[in-house]
Assembly symmetry: D2
């Protein structure tokens, strides 16, 4: 998204997730049992929730306020309260 470093971090997460989806594909092709397949799916779900939480955090910190035009307008304590809720729902 916003900085080269953040973008690389998010891309690494997404590529790891693609590998996890491919592992589900292989498990199904190889007739793995339900237990292993359910665990693999739960893993992708967790990874997806983590990615969502990270993009939401970037979004809140970078886009809710144009910080060039309104420096210091975003209230850090309120942001933290919001992100606490987001993280507790996205795990």
């Amino acid at each position: 998204m916003h900085t080269v470093r953040e973008k690389q971090k998010l891309l690494a997460r997404v590529r790891r997730m693609k590998g996890q989806v491919e592992a589900i594909e292989r498990a199904l092709e190889n007739e793995a049992g339900c237990g292993p397949v359910l665990h693999l799916i739960a893993g992708v779900r967790g990874a997806m929730a983590g990615l969502m939480a990270e993009v939401v955090e970037d979004h809140v910190r970078s886009h809710l306020v144009d910080s060039a035009a309104h420096p210091g307008a975003l209230q850090e304590e309120a942001v933290e309260q919001l992100l606490d809720v987001v993280r507790s729902y996205l795990k």
Copy 2:
């Protein structure tokens, strides 16, 4: 929270939810089957998610920026994108 009207709306929701929890209590006391009890629990869960979404929305709109000190700093489009995500997770 923020305005008398919002507070009354939130209180009405919470009181309705208390009634729903009492209905679960009665169902258990009366040895209702699992099916009805599971439906009642799902109902409270939905109500709770709706309350959470409403408080989060109030919080984002009222507290992320001190609008007296920084009028117009909160970017409406970015707020809507954030609340879309919150609502889709809290239903």
Copy 3:
């Protein structure tokens, strides 16, 4: 539900939950900030998920198979795999 002991355990959970909903009501009446209210709501949500998981577990163990008519028909390992998924979603 099924046994007197399970019923008492579930009822104790539901009554605790009613107390938590009343705490949200008082917080709103007393104009508590969003942060505390969001925490209280998250607490009820967690309690609700725990109750749901417990009722689902009772349901799976007691009702999916009529164990008087079909003793030993329920496969314990498959039940555990199912309940693992249920618990991981309901926390």
Copy 4:
């Protein structure tokens, strides 16, 4: 999993999901805004939940009871109540 037809249906879902994850990757590479990225992530999350619900349903219907050894032991009404809960949580 269990039948060739079910396996093909699940595989088709997983491959669609891989395409969705690749769309997130491309969106990040192309510096798409948060809004589109959040929508794409929400899409994968929904697809994942649907896949999970389907595997859970297969698991409940095929593995909780060995139907060759205990024909008719699985109580259809109780299964439906369980799957209603699972689906309502996995959407």
